[in-house]
Amino acid sequence: MSPQELQVQQKREVEKQQESTVPARTFMPTTDIYETESALTVVLEMPGVDKSNVDISVEAGILTIEGRLDFSKYQDMQPVYTEYNIGHYRRSFSLSSKIDQSKIGAEMADGVLTITLAKAEEAKPRRIRVG
């Protein structure tokens, strides 16, 4: 593969189902999702979010990820030139297969959250032989 140049991906704002009471904007993390026979892996980019500020929930087949940005370090800084905005992150996905709630793994490195959702036994694919 030839080396390719990285381009900026514009941050997408979360489209709200309800209007929130506070005006601050929330962004959608850039996400990769892939599946193996036993698990579903969701990888989300949330630059600036510490692992202690991440919430992951699975409820009624919806996976929701929230990341809160600590913006206190910006307190004594005045912007002079900007190319991107910052804010908290949120994104939800509806899960197509049943997940074993007791086996959700998450790790964070360099602002990237990797969630591994183990599939419930009944959701694992069965090989079907042609008789």
């Binding site: 080396p3 390719q4 140049e5 990285l6 381009q7 900026v8 991906q9 506070v22 005006p23 601050a24 904007r25 850039t30 996400t31 990769d32 999702i33 892939y34 599946e35 193996t36 892996t41 990888v43 980019e45 949330m46 630059p47 600036g48 979010v49 510490d50 940005l69 913006f71 910006y74 004594d76 800084m77 005045q78 912007p79 002079v80 030139y81 900007t82 190319e83 991107y84 905005n85 910052i86 804010g87 908290h88 964070m108 360099d110 602002g111 990237v112």
Partner: protein, 137 residues
């Protein structure tokens, strides 16, 4: 009452107000080049902040010469073998970007911090560039 979320909104508006401002005077290629840059004033110096999620610190290289700061690096994403990919939004590749600031800086005094996919460069202003107070005798 002071609300931290109002503080975030204020910060977001302040960042929007400076979107592609002419402060860099065209010396730095603008939006579109990776990584995106925000530049702040902090005291006498500058802070340049870059979002580079998923990039290992060993894959980042920073060089400074005169008032130009060059950031190069690459992002590799590997998938385990035999997976089926449902969604692929993250991109891989290399980057090489130079930020040229419109003031004399102390290139030797630049401090870099990398945390949670965010690179912050603390850039001190050169002593010779700092304003002097002139007394009237």
């Amino acid at each position: 009452m002071y609300h931290p979320l109002d503080a975030l909104f204020d910060l977001q508006r302040a960042l929007d107000a400076r979107l592609d401002s002419d402060w860099l005077r065209g010396t730095t290629a603008g939006t579109g080049a990776f990584p995106p840059i925000n530049v702040f004033q902090q005291g006498d110096g500058l802070v340049a902040i870059f979002e580079v999620p998923g990039i290992n610190r060993t894959d980042l290289e920073i060089q400074a010469k005169d008032n130009a700061i060059r950031i190069t690096g690459k992002r590799a994403i590997t998938y385990p073998e035999g997976v089926s990919v449902h969604r692929r939004e993250r991109r891989t590749g290399s980057f090489d970007r130079t930020l040229t600031v419109p003031m004399q800086i102390d290139a030797n005094g630049i401090r870099a911090e990398y945390r949670d996919g965010v690179l912050a460069l603390f850039i001190p202003r050169a002593e010779s560039d700092k304003p002097r107070t002139i007394r009237i005798n």
